[in-house]
Structures are given as structure tokens and as C-alpha cells.
């Protein structure tokens, strides 16, 4: 098991290194001049060149990369070109926000999706299965901006039950913050519900149809125990992998939801940094997402191998 963890960890480090190269050098090929962007089209060329020099943008690319990555691994994310303040404050704040929103969405959608999948599998090809499957599929294919605007119109503008901005007031406690996060979490729940429910349903149907389930039934185990001990444990394995792969999306891919609900998450931080050629902010944010994603998939793999000994055995060979 230790060997497996070490291998997975090393693989994550390689992934992050490749990601750092990609984000740094792809950032450089974005058209436009940082100094010109920051000072505006009317600024003097002399001032633009001076600013580029101050920011170190006139140094060779490899030197810039080396300096950045060396500082980054030491915990120094650099200073924002745009805001002239350390990036770490923005990134940590945005990451915290994104994690909060992701947590709320996860806490709602994972039990709901799994439950939906289990019910659909147990009532396979019956009306309830059709409703869950079709309803989930419909919710998944609807773009987030459509569901988000619909939810805002219904709950924010017509009924006025929930605030349409996810930015809670200063000093709001956990419950107060939750009140502001419910509406933004709903489009994510709708997007993910169908996906998780379908995976859970498929895994469950396969497990229900397996020999070990038939054996457990035939040896006289109570139906509930068969489901709990044998079907769920095996049937939900693919769902765990699916949930883990959605972490990156939930933490860093919520640009539309963050924009519509005016939420300062890391998705909009990345988008605005790319748009504003704020490379230190862009690089740090992407790397943080990369680390989050790597940690989530590592944890999922560990959980998967814990639940499924065959994985451990294969990997240890």
C-alpha cells in the first residue's frame, strides 16, 4: 500500500510540474503586451517599457520561469501585476470561497445523486427509474447559465426567498453564509445530479446482477443486508471516481456561476487574470487548482483501492 501511495504521489508531482510548464509558457503566447494592457492604449510607450522592465518581463523566458517556480515551491506566489499586492491573499480567499461553494453543492448533490441512482436501480425500467433518469439527464444537459438565471428569477426576484448574490455580508456566521450559498449551489446540483445518479444506477444494476449478489440472496441473507454489504460497496465504486473527478470542476470551473452570483471564487479569478494578463495571479491560481485536483484524485484512488482490494493487488505487483 505504501508503495502504491508513493507511486501515486510521485505521479502527482510530475503532473504538477508539467502543469507549471504549460501554464507558464501558454501564458506567454497570449497576444498583447502586459505594460500596454495595464497602462491603457493612451499611455506613453516609454512608460509601458519602464513598467515591463519593473515587472521583469524583459528578461529571458527561462529565467522568468525559473524565478517563478523556485519562489512558488517556497510558498511565494508573487505579486499581482494588476493589483500590486501579493497574490497569495487573493488566491487563498478565492480558494476558500470555491471550497465552501463546492462543499455545499457536494453535501447536497452526492447523497441526492447516489440515492437517486439507488432508487432508479432498484426500480429499474419502472416509472420512478424513468423519472429519475430522464429528469437527471435533462438537468445535466441544461447549461448552468440557463438554470442559474431561472433559479435567480424564481427564488431571487419573484419569490424573493433567497439572495441572488453569493457575497455574504461581513461578519456572517456559518448559517448566514449557507443562506447566501444555497442558490448558487443549486445549478451545480442540477448539473451533477444526473451524472452521479446515472453512474450510481449503472453500478448498482451491474452489482445487483452479479453472482455474489445472487449467492448472498440464495444463502438467505436479508435483502437490506445484501444491498448494504454487497451491492452498495461494489456498485458505488465507479461513482466515487466520478465524484472525485468533479472536484476540479467544482473548485475551479464555476466561472459562469461565480459571475452570475457575483461570487469571488477561483474560477473567476483565473478568467479575469487571463483576460487581464495578470500572469502571477493566473499561474498561482491554476497551480492551486492543480494541487487541489491532484489531492482529490489521490484521495479518491486511495479510497477506491481501500474499498477494492484488487486495485491494491494489481498496483503492488
Amino acid at each position: 500500500m505504501l508503495h502504491y501511495i508513493a507511486r501515486r504521489f510521485a505521479l502527482s508531482l510530475v503532473t504538477l510540474f508539467v502543469l507549471s510548464l504549460l501554464i507558464f509558457f501558454l501564458g506567454q503566447v497570449l497576444p498583447g503586451n502586459v505594460g500596454r494592457f495595464l497602462l491603457g492604449p493612451d499611455a506613453d510607450q516609454q512608460a509601458v517599457e519602464m513598467l515591463n522592465h519593473q515587472l521583469g518581463l524583459d528578461r529571458p523566458l527561462l529565467v522568468q520561469y525559473g524565478t517563478w517556480i523556485w519562489r512558488f515551491v517556497q510558498g511565494d506566489m508573487g505579486e499581482s501585476y494588476v493589483y500590486r499586492t501579493p497574490v497569495v491573499a487573493f488566491v487563498s480567499q478565492a480558494l476558500l470561497h470555491s471550497l465552501k461553494l463546492a462543499a455545499v453543492a457536494f453535501l447536497i448533490v452526492v447523497p441526492l445523486g447516489i440515492m437517486g441512482g439507488i432508487i432508479a436501480a432498484l426500480k429499474v425500467n419502472r416509472p420512478l427509474d424513468r423519472i429519475i433518469s430522464l429528469g437527471g439527464l435533462t438537468a445535466t444537459v441544461l447549461p448552468e447559465f440557463v438554470t442559474a438565471i431561472l433559479l435567480i428569477l424564481i427564488f431571487g426576484i419573484w419569490l424573493r426567498w433567497l439572495p441572488i448574490s453569493a457575497a455574504w455580508p461581513d461578519g456572517a456566521g456559518a448559517l448566514g453564509q449557507l443562506h447566501y450559498l444555497i442558490l448558487p449551489a443549486m445549478p451545480l446540483v442540477l448539473v451533477l445530479f444526473g451524472y452521479i445518479a446515472r453512474m450510481a444506477r449503472a453500478g448498482m444494476i451491474e452489482a445487483l446482477d452479479s453472482d455474489y449478489t445472487r449467492t448472498a440472496v440464495l444463502k438467505g441473507l436479508p435483502w437490506r443486508l445484501v444491498i448494504w454489504r454487497h451491492v452498495l460497496r461494489n456498485g458505488l465504486l465507479p461513482t466515487i471516481a466520478v465524484v472525485a473527478t468533479q472536484t476540479g470542476y467544482l473548485v475551479g470551473g464555476l466561472l459562469i456561476v461565480e459571475t452570475l452570483f457575483r461570487y469571488q471564487g477561483i474560477g473567476s479569478l483565473i478568467f479575469n487574470a487571463a483576460r487581464g494578463r495578470d500572469f502571477p495571479m493566473l499561474e498561482a491560481s491554476v497551480m492551486v487548482i492543480g494541487v487541489t485536483y491532484a489531492v482529490a484524485t489521490l484521495l479518491a484512488d486511495l479510497l477506491y483501492s481501500f474499498l477494492n482490494p484488487r486495485i491494491r493487488m494489481v498496483s503492488s505487483r
Partner: protein, 554 residues
């Protein structure tokens, strides 16, 4: 009403010949009331004085800027486009940054809602006879929020800083060929003189709020505005959070009438749609800047008042005069004749714009010559011009532009219209940074494209459009238009102080530009501000600046 000749004579006895010529123009109907007020204030005549002249002339009193008259102490909440970077009044060029600085800091004069320049930190101003020296008298008893009194040293330092090539200020382009470092001189603690490189008849606009970087800061200012927010304005900073918003409170030491709201809250957004939803949900009272196209849902909303200010802001279509097929002015005129300007105003801009006549002389400028014929759509004539230029079989072109407001839709309309004269127009739409590139020839799609569309903000006077984009040595002359005659006329326009003389030169420039057509000015769009019903006293100007000191809730 009757005319009081004796009183008029008394008023006129102290006026300069140029000022008297303006009064003559008003008395004999050559100059309208608005132009009289606007140009009179530009020359340094106070609005009360102009009002007394109007009364004596039998035209009635001038309107006054009234306060809301509602309960003071309200909290006004504003949806604002998020500033694109750190707030630095010296270099900010985006709406968010400009509005933030303007909440706490002020200008020598204000280019207001009615585009009449009014005293603010300067109480009066006067040009010398040829307009090369402008003397400004500063208001006494004005305090910065830090407690220091504003004096001439602060104003001199402000303008020296603004025109310094190292500053990176957008205002440098405004002062190009007009004001240099060291040319702002202190006469005494409350009087300064601007010694100009060349005569300028519109100079007060260059030091007004219309030149948004010319905000008066303490002489000691050395950057880091977000730490001090030290200005002279009616509001003080309470809290500023980058990317989130800002709160301001009433400045009880303000030199003028104390602001009615006790507090203002600015909430930053990165897109217009959430701003509209926030207004509809009652979470904000004002959307500072509402684009007509994407804000159409609010234009007819009975719960919302739309403040619409005519401006000179436009989407400039350039046609490169130094490359084929636009080397031939007939081809440029042919393209211009395809535009259906009425449709642009009524359809594309939902009636919130004014028709353009292919010159930067927008209808809002008093110096625009109203006798110049308006260019109208004429496809038959356009086809004849194409035939005369040897292009009757058509031509393939690319229009390069950026994703901003209604520009993509405008480009598509042009694409459809020019097809009728055989122009197969491909569209290349980029993001802002890619389009601007290095803003230098050979390194910028904006300046290199054969045909392009570029947004230009409003300016109090058209001077900036000439120095930046139209004169032979203009750095952003995307049309690559070079004309000695045009340059001479433009310099003459800049130097003219008298309104009717300005109009005469403007007329020549407008006719020349119609003939040459290096650029298309299809329409000039209004600045729209959406205000929730019941919120009164909100003032916004054509520069998107927002004045909330008289705002209240009914």
C-alpha cells in the same frame, strides 16, 4: 419678455471682445441657449452671471442644479463594473477605477450632466487674449481628507505629475502639444497659471472631470492611493475591498453643501447581466453604466428610471487610406454611403444614440457646424463610386475588431450593407488585449488592420480625438490619414476662442472629412444609468462619472 438694454450694456462693459461676441451671438439667435451657457462657462463666465445676461436679454433665467429635497441619510447602493486594477487616479482608464477615484477626489472644474463646465476646486478662470495662458483662481478653505488645505502647490504638482512621461497617465495624450511639465505655475497660494505650448480655446475642459486623470491630489502623493484615498470630495472612504466593492461615508468637512446620503455602497460586478438581476431583485439602487443592447430589459421597465446623457462616445470605423482599396477616397465614401445611420440609432442602439456624420464633431459639441449636410444611405451612388474606382466586380476585405458592447453586431450590420456594393467583408473579432496588441504600428491589429472598429470614450471637447487619432502625427491614427490641410485646420480650431469662429473652422474640417472619409462615425451613443424608481437626485455625466451627493430615497 422685454430686453433691458441698459442692464445688458452694464454687463457687457466688463467683458472681453470674445465674450461680447458670444453675447451678440446669443442675442441675435446665432447661438442657442445651451451653447451660450456652455461656451460662456468655458470662457470663465459664471453661470449666475450668464443667467443674469439671459434675463436681461429677455430669455428667462437659467436652470439651477437643484438638490433632491428628500430625506437625508439614505444609503445608496450602486452596481459598478469592477475596476480592472489597483485604483490610481493618475493612470486609471476604466469605468470602475475612474468612478472610485471620483467619489473622493475632485477636479478644477466639472463637466456636468448638461456638459456645461462648472467651477469645482477652481472658482473662476480666464484666458489671456490669444488663449496661451489660462489663469485659474482656486477655492479657499478646501481640505483634503487628511486635513491639509488644498493650495496652488497641490494643483501644480498634480498637473506636473499628469504630464510627466514617466507617469503612464492617459491624460498625457490630452495635453499633447498643449501643456508640458513645468508649465503649470503658481502665482500665489490660490492662483495658478497654465502656460500652454499653443493657444487653446477649450482648455478648461482639459482640466475638468472630462479629463478623468486630472484629479487634484496632494503635492506629496507618490502612489499607493488605496492606502490613503486622500482627496477633497464630498465622500470619504470607509472600506475598500479589491474585486468586491467599496463603501463611502459623508465627508462632514466638505467645502460645499454636505452630501445628502450618509453612505454609499459600490458593489463590483464583472458582467452586466448580474447587475440587471441585482437591480430587479432590489439589491442595488443604481447601475452606473447600462449598455443599450444588453440592458434592453430595463429600458422599458416601469420600476426603473433611465438617465440618458448624450455624449460623443463612438465606435470608430477606420479605413486605411494608405492601402488598397481604401487608397482611393471614392471607395471610402462608397462604404460610408452604405451605412443606414437611422437604423443604427433606432435599431441597434434602441434610440439611445445620435446620428454621426463621419467626423468627431458630435451633435453634443456647441462648435459642431449645423449647416454641414448629413451623410445619408445612398446605395446607388455608392455603386457608382465603386464603378468609378474600378471595383464594380467587388472586392474582398477583412474587418478586424474587438468584443466590446455592440461592436460585433455593428460589424455584422456593416457586413450586410457593404455586400450590396460587392464588398465581401470577413469579420475578425478579437479580445481587447489581442486587438490593441502593443498599440504600435506593425505590432497591433488595431493600427495595422485595413478596416477596423475601435471604441472611443466621450470627451468634453473633440480635441483629443484629433490629437490621438486623426492628425498626421497622431499615434493612434489607425486610418493612416495624412493631410496637411486637415492638420492646419485642426490647429486653427484648437487655437480659436470664439464660438462662432470655432464653428466656422469646424465646418471646414467636417466637410474635408466627409470628402476624405478616413473614418466612419455612424452614431454617438448615450451614457445610460439605470436608477430604481424612488431614488432621486442621481447625476451621471457622459464620462460615466457618478455624482451622488444630492441623491436621496423618496
Amino acid at each position: 419678455m422685454t430686453r433691458n438694454i441698459k442692464l445688458l450694456d452694464t454687463f457687457r462693459s466688463n467683458l472681453t471682445p470674445i465674450e461680447n461676441h458670444l453675447v451678440d451671438g446669443y442675442l441675435y439667435g446665432r447661438v442657442g441657449r445651451r451653447e451660450f451657457l456652455r461656451h460662456g462657462s468655458l470662457l470663465g463666465l459664471s453661470l449666475p452671471f450668464l443667467g443674469r445676461v439671459a434675463l436681461a436679454a429677455g430669455f428667462g433665467a437659467t436652470p439651477s442644479m437643484a438638490r433632491a429635497g428628500d430625506q437625508p441619510g439614505a444609503t445608496i447602493r450602486v452596481a459598478l463594473q469592477a475596476p480592472t486594477g489597483a485604483i490610481n487616479p493618475l493612470t486609471n482608464g476604466d469605468e470602475g477605477g475612474i468612478v472610485m477615484a471620483q467619489q473622493v477626489a475632485e477636479f478644477l472644474c466639472i463637466d456636468g450632466t448638461d456638459r456645461v463646465v462648472r467651477p469645482c476646486l477652481a472658482t473662476s478662470w480666464k484666458p489671456n487674449q490669444d488663449g496661451t495662458v489660462w489663469t485659474f483662481t482656486l477655492r479657499k478653505g478646501v481640505k483634503f481628507h487628511s486635513g491639509a488645505e488644498m493650495r496652488a502647490d497641490d494643483v501644480v504638482a498634480t498637473f506636473d505629475r499628469v504630464v510627466d512621461p514617466q507617469s503612464g497617465s492617459n491624460a498625457r495624450m490630452v495635453f499633447k502639444g498643449v501643456l508640458q511639465k513645468g508649465a503649470t505655475r503658481k502665482v500665489d497660494d490660490y492662483t495658478i497659471e497654465f502656460h500652454l505650448d499653443s493657444p487653446s480655446g477649450n482648455f478648461p475642459y482639459l482640466v475638468s472631470s472630462a479629463n478623468y486623470n486630472a484629479v487634484i491630489l496632494p503635492a506629496s502623493y507618490a502612489g499607493g492611493f488605496e492606502k490613503t484615498w486622500d482627496g477633497t470630495g464630498p465622500f470619504r472612504i470607509e472600506k475598500y475591498t479589491q474585486k468586491v466593492g467599496a463603501n463611502f461615508v459623508r465627508n462632514d468637512d466638505y467645502w460645499g453643501s454636505k452630501s445628502l446620503p450618509a453612505r454609499t455602497e459600490f458593489i463590483f460586478f464583472t458582467d452586466i447581466q448580474p447587475q440587471i438581476l441585482a437591480l430587479q431583485a432590489g439589491q442595488v439602487d443604481i447601475i452606473n453604466s447600462l449598455p443599450a443592447v444588453s440592458g434592453v430589459a430595463l429600458l422599458s421597465d416601469p420600476n426603473v428610471d433611465i438617465l440618458s446623457v448624450n455624449s460623443a462616445a463612438h465606435q470608430l470605423v477606420h479605413l486605411r487610406c494608405d492601402v488598397e482599396p481604401f487608397k482611393d477616397p471614392r471607395v471610402r465614401r462608397a462604404v460610408a454611403l452604405c451605412l443606414d445611420r437611422e437604423k443604427l440609432v433606432k435599431g441597434l442602439m434602441k434610440g439611445r444614440a445620435m446620428v454621426g456624420n463621419d467626423s468627431p464633431f458630435a451633435p453634443v459639441y456647441p462648435s459642431t457646424d449645423p449647416t454641414v449636410p448629413q451623410r445619408k444611405r445612398d446605395v446607388a451612388q455608392a455603386k457608382e463610386l465603386m464603378k468609378a474606382a474600378g471595383l464594380e466586380n467587388g472586392v474582398q476585405l477583412t474587418l478586424t475588431t474587438m468584443q466590446y458592447l455592440e461592436i460585433p453586431e455593428y460589424a455584422q450590420l456593416i457586413q450586410g450593407w457593404v455586400k450590396e456594393i460587392g464588398v465581401d467583408l470577413k469579420l475578425k473579432i478579437m479580445d481587447w488585449t489581442s486587438y490593441v496588441g502593443d498599440a504600435a504600428l506593425g505590432k497591433s491589429p488595431w493600427l495595422d488592420a485595413t478596416m477596423g472598429i475601435t471604441p472611443w470614450y466621450h470627451r468634453g471637447v473633440p480635441n483629443y480625438y484629433f490629437t490621438a487619432a486623426l492628425m498626421s502625427d497622431s499615434p493612434y491614427n489607425a486610418a493612416h490619414f495624412k493631410s496637411e490641410q486637415f492638420d492646419t485646420l485642426t490647429k486653427s480650431y484648437f487655437a480659436t476662442l470664439d464660438l462662432e469662429a470655432q464653428r466656422a473652422v469646424a465646418g471646414k474640417i467636417e466637410r474635408l472629412l466627409l470628402d476624405e472619409t478616413p473614418n466612419l462615425y455612424g452614431y454617438f451613443y448615450n451614457n445610460l444609468t439605470a436608477v430604481k424608481k424612488g431614488v432621486v437626485g442621481v447625476e451621471s455625466n457622459a464620462m460615466h462619472q457618478l455624482f451622488l451627493q444630492n441623491a436621496g430615497k423618496a
